[in-house]
Amino acid sequence: MAELPDPVDLAVPAFVALVLAEMIVARVKDRSRYCPRDTLTSLLLGFGSTVAGVLSAGMVFALATWVHQFRLFDIGYAWYWFVLAFVLDDLAYYAFHRSAHRVRWFWASHVIHHSSQHYNLSTALRQTWTGFFSLAFLFRLPLFLIGFPPAMIFFVAGLNLVYQFWIHTEVIGRMPRWFEAVMNTPSHHRVHHATNARYLDRNYAGVFIVWDRLFGTFEGERDDDRPRYGIVHNLPDFSVLRAAFHEWWGIAKDVWHAPDWRARLGYMFGPPGWSHDGSRDTSESIKTRWKVRQERRGEAWKKPTSSLSAQEAEAAPPPAA
């Protein structure tokens, strides 16, 4: 079996240096881009995630190796297999990531990454502690069944994670058009982290934004709707433990109080915000309310009467290009 390095371990010094550089930029341009307590929480969550990953790595690797014995093809370590593995692993990441936003069980693990109201390089390191428990590794099993060696997949998955680090920043505006068309970029990923109704549940890509364009989940960043970061119900404090476990606790409470089994399953595997009596907000209900309001404001904006206030006129959407 090939011995491949862990790209994330190798990248740690660069992570530290780039966070430091971004802090200095923030000091000069906009001090609110960073908040020391938020940064400490993000970094401690990143550290805890690494420890949790090490603890579960043996079991995940053993499962991958077991599945690999049923492979359809024998795939070696030639460079082109690495390239194909990288692309297919990114597709598997897209499937995982989309599920992580649409299925509460996976969201409970992934929400940690979205729980900061800041969007900077330290946010990139705010990673899950409960990925193994949520069974996120299942999404990569098809790659082992195809025949990609586990060591190769874990290597390219590490590269994927390293790529995603640099896109968590507001320092970079837009990349060249050709790059924005193919690759995930800071602009695309700002949309993904935003809670604006327009941007909810969009841009799930890891490295290649083409998956979102292909599967209809792409949304471009607009200058007239600047992203606001965090989650729909932002956390009340900077507690590391609350960030790591609050959604699991929420699931446990909901399942305990659910009136029947259908509701219990809904609270575990329905979309985040689902409730048996419809009393909570899902991304769909938020988008629907937002659209109704936009249409109402649009109608008001079109009226050639004096009923339009200056404030409404300012808020009216620009005419379509």
Binding site: R31, R37, Q117
Partner: protein, 137 residues
């Protein structure tokens, strides 16, 4: 990951957090005025339509009154804000101002004079009663 890398990462975490403090990043958020409070409430709560807002003088808290008896409570959290929609919140007026329970471990505190605090509290109850009557149709 080996133990040396783990220890190094932990040192780096503490060092970066310390540098963030030393650079005085993330100035404490303050609600500047009623217009900002209304914008925060409408942006943070889907479908919330504000009518007016009360912001305390030090910008440390705000109440935004909305339609249908709903109320948005806002308080700074680091350099950002926490916005919560509540109905008939528990409140307590004192010489220090108005304390309103938002459902979070941290309440919203408005530094107001006792008379204003009492007035805003009573309005919270009145708005909630309007909302109940509207719900009953």
């Amino acid at each position: 990951m080996n133990w040396a890398l783990a220890a190094g990462s932990l040192v780096a975490v503490l060092m970066l957090a310390g540098i963030a403090w030393a650079l005085r990043l993330g100035e404490s958020g303050r609600i500047a005025d009623a217009a900002q409070a209304i914008r925060l409430a409408e942006e943070g709560l889907a479908g919330f339509e504000a009518s007016d807002a009360v912001v305390c003088a030090d910008g440390g808290g705000a109440v935004v009154f909305g339609s249908h008896g709903t109320v948005a409570l806002i308080r700074p959290s680091g350099a950002r804000f926490i916005v919560r929609e509540v109905r008939r919140p528990q409140w307590q007026a004192s010489d220090a101002g108005l304390r309103i329970e938002s459902g979070d471990p941290i309440p919203v505190l408005l530094t107001l004079n006792p008379a204003d605090a009492q007035g805003v509290g009573q309005r919270l109850d009145a708005v909630a009663d309007i909302g109940v009557n509207m719900d009953r149709g």
